[in-house]
């Protein structure tokens, strides 16, 4: 046995009684002690998350005023005050790829999120195409899950394994939980199920070749993808076998998707934090709101749907309303996540010290469907990144320059990314 299995926490304490809303605040105590010690001695690995929020922002209230220098947060960003020194805001970026293609409203929205991390016109570009997957290809290969794709509402993915293969994003915390911790209630059961799982994959992989015969080429290609995916799962399974997964003391599962946006968001943030802490994955994408979403956020006090709200038509009252929603989203998402990360011990410090969180949108002024200047934040201290800065880049600088900067801070050996023309130093 590699690690002590200790029942740190009653299986019943977590979600019983108060319902899902409790979240998983104590999950940290369920991480095997030995794992934390290992990182305390050395340096915890670098991790990254990319968080997407649809419909841009009211930019003049979102961006810091003035040019590069010390960060002075804009009016809708005040809830980030406590984290001012842990984040930088990058202004002036543009998403050129999102301008390529059909010039219609719907297409513009769709491309804003689909190109945000690929920086390539739809269905073009190298493989892997999205920045998170480029990161996963380097820093995600030693963990059971190369990357984790999460969403707070179903919508088109922002993560692309290849130009035409979006990775499905999971909205259900319970399913995320099972992916992270597996199914089964005792270590023995989990081990037996893992064996069964492995032999299933192995057997099915052997079945594909004979089935290929007498299929047309197009269908053979589809079946090939199935086989590739089986091989990938087998590889991950081998990693999971080496990890502490089987020895983790697994808490009770969340019961489903909370109706309340903030509860849902916090549950996902908790799961992300524990996945990072237990080194189950190092790369994550999180869709906070999808493009064209008309979701209403009751706790923001605004009754208009998000997409409608973003079309403010330049009317002052409507701009105020959208700004209020921006303020709410900042508080309920990025500020809340940073709080969670900063209060989660990791190695010699806390999680925020060892991660990078890129937060932003592929739209700027959504009323006009502009893809510049983009709202973009980089938070966290992985790779020696320091915050507290406003980084104003020349107008029209490709967003890929920032993503390249982030990838380099994560030690991904790349000198260019998509349409990058240089590196934004963060």
């Amino acid at each position: 046995m590699r690690y002590l299995t200790k029942k740190h926490l009653s299986r019943r304490t977590l979600l019983r009684g108060a319902g899902v809303a409790l979240g998983l605040p104590l999950l940290e105590s369920m991480i095997p002690a030995a794992m934390r010690r290992a990182w305390a001695a050395g340096m915890p690995p670098k991790r990254v998350a990319f968080m997407y929020l649809a419909h841009g922002a009211v930019m003049d209230r979102w961006l810091p005023s003035g040019t590069s220098g010390d960060l002075v947060l804009g009016p809708t960003m005040q809830s980030l005050g406590s984290w001012r020194n842990r984040l930088s805001i990058v202004s002036g970026l543009r998403l050129p790829a999102a301008y390529v293609g059909e010039q219609t409203a719907g297409a513009n929205h769709t491309r804003a999120s689909r190109c945000w991390l690929t920086c390539a016109p739809l269905e073009t570009g190298a493989s892997p195409t999205s920045a998170d997957q480029a990161a996963a290809a380097h820093i995600g290969q030693d963990t059971p899950l190369p990357s984790l794709e999460l969403a707070l509402e179903s919508g088109e993915s922002i993560a692309y394994r290849t130009p035409t293969t979006p990775l499905p994003m999971e909205t259900n915390p319970r399913v995320v939980f099972e992916r992270l911790f597996g199914d089964g209630s005792t270590p023995g059961e989990r081990a037996a199920r893992q064996r069964q799982f492995a032999s299933l994959l192995d057997a099915v992989a052997g079945e594909v070749a004979p089935l290929q015969r007498s299929l047309p080429a197009a269908d053979r290609a589809r079946l090939d993808r199935y086989l590739t995916d089986i091989r990938e799962l087998e590889r991950r399974l081998a990693l999971a076998g080496d990890s502490t997964l089987a020895e983790l003391d697994v808490p009770d599962k969340p019961n489903g998707i909370p109706a309340d946006f903030e509860e849902h968001a916090n549950l996902m943030f908790d799961l992300l934090a524990v996945a990072w802490q237990a080194d189950l994955t190092r790369v994550a994408t999180l869709l906070l709101a999808r493009e064209l979403s008309n979701r209403v956020y009751p706790r923001s006090g605004i009754t208009e749907g998000f997409h409608n709200c973003s079309h403010h038509s330049g009317v002052p009252a409507n701009i105020d309303r959208l700004a209020r929603l921006n303020e709410y989203h900042t508080r309920a998402t990025i500020a809340s996540l940073l709080q969670k990360l900063a209060s989660t011990p990791d190695g010699d410090g806390n999680l925020l010290d060892h991660v990078l969180v890129v937060y932003g949108s592929g739209l700027s002024n959504a009323n006009q469907h502009d893809h510049d200047p983009l709202p973009m934040i980089v938070a966290g201290g992985a790779g020696g990144v320091r915050g507290g800065r406003h980084v104003a880049v020349p107008e029209g600088t490709p967003a890929a320059n920032l993503l390249l900067g982030v990838l380099q801070k994560l030690d991904v050996p790349v000198t260019s990314f998509a349409d990058s023309t240089g590196v934004v130093e963060i």
Binding site: T165, P216, N294, T303
Partner: protein
């Protein structure tokens, strides 16, 4: 005064039978050129290529060479989108005759070189997966299937092969589901306990008696729970129950000790010491459990007495079932009866019984014979052996083999093989088993049953009379409700209705459910009764319960059961255009959207393809926005007129908005209204062909007058769903054939289904061999 007297006569005939297939000498070839030259080529020429289309150098005799361009032209003409507003436009009759002539030319070209296309390899979607498990194992796996990643919707449906790709995450989900389902269906005594939480409908529903719950109770919920083993289970009822002395807003003191929770098990009351948390021994299998609050103050079930009553204290919020604990046996469940058709009496029997069980399950799961001695059976037997070793008994072996079967590509994918002895490019008939699968996935969203497989084995399924009889049998089967749940619910926006959040205090889940049921029940009648599909536009009846009736202002309907209600001749509620479901799903969260309504009507009911607006063209139509902009528009309509005045917008909005505007008397939840914010509703509008509309009744009449467009669109949507792929220009002659066949049989849904099943597209494929992969 008509310039084309011949055309007028022909068109009259066309409207009577649906679609014209007549060759008009004066319109063929050179005649087509005349209309094209006069009304189309001014923009669609090689130089200008408006919309990237030019007719200038196309062959006007043989249309087959550019079928896609001509089919697009037919669609524009048939839906009135071309010639554009403001440009010279001949009489409707001339345009119809011209479209008919193009259709005839296209059908003719198709008949000379039929092209049924292919059906791309697709995996089962979540719904099909859950239904297949239900039919294979008599086990309800919808909860487990619900944890698989959602399927993408392409061309309006989630069974489209293009949307059904795989990913490691999805495969992991399938493998995990296979293990969970096989354990639960077999009844694994080593399984750990787990919780399932059922949430009660919040809000007003908790103050009323719920249908199917005992008399004398209010609120609560009834669930059908699959208990995996004969065991003890813990039940926790979460309820907000006021403390003693709770004071209601009227000042009267009620419920000194809080209301009692009433629990029933399979209909019988259960006496438990603490009804908020208790344990019961439960036999394995699906059982029905209900919890509700005792209501000793009023006559239950008579909602009238609740009118005007302030909120009563207390409500059931959720029921959590945890277990199994202290399991004694796997019990006698439907899934075990389905799986264990035999039991080995001795070890000598064992293999015989194992083969019998597995070959039967595999034949049904893989949808073709898996006999003794086959490689497929050998695979499953190997898994049986390792499961038997790991788990120690016969049942553990079957469970292992079952998990193997459920991840097999033959189960997860719908294979259609290309025969070796057919040349690439040639058309061939798919085999009987493939036909059986196409049928069952089309009509049942599930695997074929034994009867279909037996007919496929006998080689008789493709005999027209046998096939037609099977279609009738399948439509009469309860599983045909899949057409409502999957086809109609996607086509008629009922899935959108599930997720909309109207900002209106009257809206809650009870109303949402009633709205949905109304439309589902009307559609179900199309399956059950020989009734024209035009009933969707003008049915003289509907289904209402108390909640929905109150919503519609229909008096005298009591209770939560939906029942049939007749509409008067002139009622604006006739047909789905008066259904609150559709009207709510096509509204914005805080107002009506005539644009959305008009667009949906044009696209989904009339078959138009409308381009999206150019960037920056959207306008904010909310009252808040107009007020702060100082605009004079006080109603949605007035604000919309402002935006339609722009020439950029009028091209499309001038065509679709009138349809939506004529529905303005229906508010964002589909309630009737005569005024909005103190301004009288003006539902007058003029359609692109000049027809004046003054409200929903006129719109219905106008749609009925062009019922061919509606029936064609219905056929097109149904065929898209049946094929699981987007239709192409090569499919449109087949669609027209389906419409003609259905027209001869009163346009019933049965006739449309029969004609689709009888078509080449459904029964044949083109061999593509090693042709390069599209996209």
């Amino acid at each position: 005064m008509r310039r084309w007297p011949i055309a007028a006569g022909i068109t009259f005939a066309a409207l009577a039978v649906g679609v014209v297939v007549v060759d008009l000498p004066w319109l063929a070839g050179a005649g087509r050129g005349e209309v094209l030259g006069r009304y189309c080529v001014e923009c669609h020429n090689d130089l200008e290529r408006a919309g990237d289309v030019s007719f200038e150098s196309l062959d006007r005799e043989d249309l087959g060479g550019h079928a896609d361009v001509w089919e697009a032209a037919v669609r524009k003409l048939r839906t009135g989108l071309m010639p554009p507003l403001g440009e010279p436009r001949p009489d409707r009759a001339v345009l119809d005759a011209f479209a008919a002539s193009l259709e005839a030319g296209l059908d003719d070209a198709w008949a000379r070189a039929p092209n049924p296309g292919t059906r791309p390899l697709a995996r089962l979607n979540r719904t099909e997966y859950a239904n297949a498990i239900r039919d294979l194992l008599a086990y309800d796996a919808s909860a487990i299937a619900g944890t698989l990643p959602p399927d993408a919707t392409v061309a309006g449906f989630d069974n489209n092969a293009e949307g059904l790709s795989v990913s490691p995450t999805l495969l992991e989900g399938y493998a995990t589901a296979a293990m969970q389902i096989s354990r639960r269906a077999v009844g694994d005594r080593t399984m750990g306990h787990g919780e399932t939480r059922y949430t009660a409908t919040p809000g007003a529903a908790q103050r009323l008696a719920v249908d199917g719950l005992p008399l004398g109770t209010r609120g609560g919920l009834a669930v059908q729970h699959n208990f995996p083993l004969d065991a003890t289970y813990e039940f926790v009822v979460s309820a907000a129950i006021p403390a003693a002395g709770w004071d209601n807003p009227t000042g009267a003191l009620v419920y000194c000790d809080g209301p009692q929770v009433d629990v029933t098990f399979n209909g019988a009351p259960v006496a438990v010491e603490n009804p908020r948390r208790f344990r019961l021994r439960v036999p394995a299998g699906p059982q029905r459990i209900t919890v509700a609050l005792l209501d000793d103050r009023r006559c239950s079930g008579v909602n009238e007495l609740y009118q005007g009553e302030v909120a009563l204290g207390g409500a059931v919020q959720a029921l959590t079932i945890d277990g199994p604990f202290d399991a004694t046996d796997a019990g006698d469940t439907p899934s075990r009866r389905e799986i264990f058709r035999c039991r080995p009496a001795s070890s000598a029997d064992e293999l015989v019984c194992v083969e019998q069980i597995l070959s039967r399950l595999a034949t049904r799961a893989y949808r073709r014979p898996v006999g003794a001695g086959s490689a497929e059976l050998a695979q499953l037997k190997r898994f049986y052996a390792s499961g038997r070793e790991e788990g120690g008994d016969f049942e553990a072996g079957i469970q292992y083999a079952l998990s193997r079967l459920l991840v097999d590509p033959r189960f997860l994918y719908r294979f259609e093989r290309e025969p070796d002895d057919v040349a690439v490019g040639a058309v061939y008939a798919i085999d009987g088993y493939e036909l059986a699968s196409r049928l069952s996935f089309f009509l049942w969203s599930s695997i074929p049953d034994d009867e279909l497989l037996a007919l496929a084995a006998d080689g008789r399924l493709d005999e027209p009379a046998v096939l037609a009889a099977q279609v009738d049998r399948m439509l009469a089967d309860a599983r045909a409700s899949a057409l409502v749940e999957n086809f109609a619910s996607q086509w008629l926006l009922l899935r959108e209705l599930d997720t909309v959040v109207p900002q209106d205090p009257d809206f809650d889940d009870g109303l949402r459910a009633a709205m949905r049921q109304e439309t589902e029940m009307l559609f179900t009648d199309l399956i059950r009764e020989p009734r024209s599909v035009l009933a969707l536009l003008d049915a003289d009846y509907t289904y209402l319960n108390e909640r929905l009736a109150a919503h519609y202002g229909v008096p005298g309907i009591r209770g939560s059961q939906m029942r049939r209600v007749e509409w008067p001749e002139a009622s604006p509620r006739r047909g789905i255009l008066g259904h609150a479901s559709v009207l709510t799903a096509t509204s914005a969260p805080n107002r009506t959207s005539p644009v959305k309504r008009g667009q949906w009507l044009m696209q989904s009911l009339l078959g138009a393809k409308i381009p999206r607006p150019p960037p920056g063209a959207e306008a904010d139509l909310s009252a808040e926005a107009s007020k702060s902009a100082g605009l004079v528009g006080d109603t949605v309509r007035a604000r919309l007129e402002l935006h339609r005045a722009s020439p950029n917008c009028a091209g499309c909005h001038g065509i679709m908005d009138p349809l939506g505007l004529s529905l303005e008397n229906f508010d964002l939840l589909g309630r009737w209204r005569d005024s909005e914010d103190g301004h009288a509703i003006d539902a007058a509008a003029r359609m692109v062909d000049g027809t004046a509309l003054s409200g929903p009744q006129d719109l219905r009449e106008a749609l009925l007058a062009r019922s061919d467009a509606f029936v064609s669109t219905f056929a097109e949507r149904l065929m898209t769903y049946a094929m699981g792929r987007e239709l192409t220009a090569a499919d449109m002659p087949v669609v027209r054939g389906v419409v003609r066949a259905a027209a001869a049989d009163d346009n019933t849904l049965r006739a449309l289904v029969q004609a689709i099943v009888a078509s080449d597209s459904f029964q044949k494929r083109v061999k593509t061999g090693d042709a390069p992969v599209p996209n």
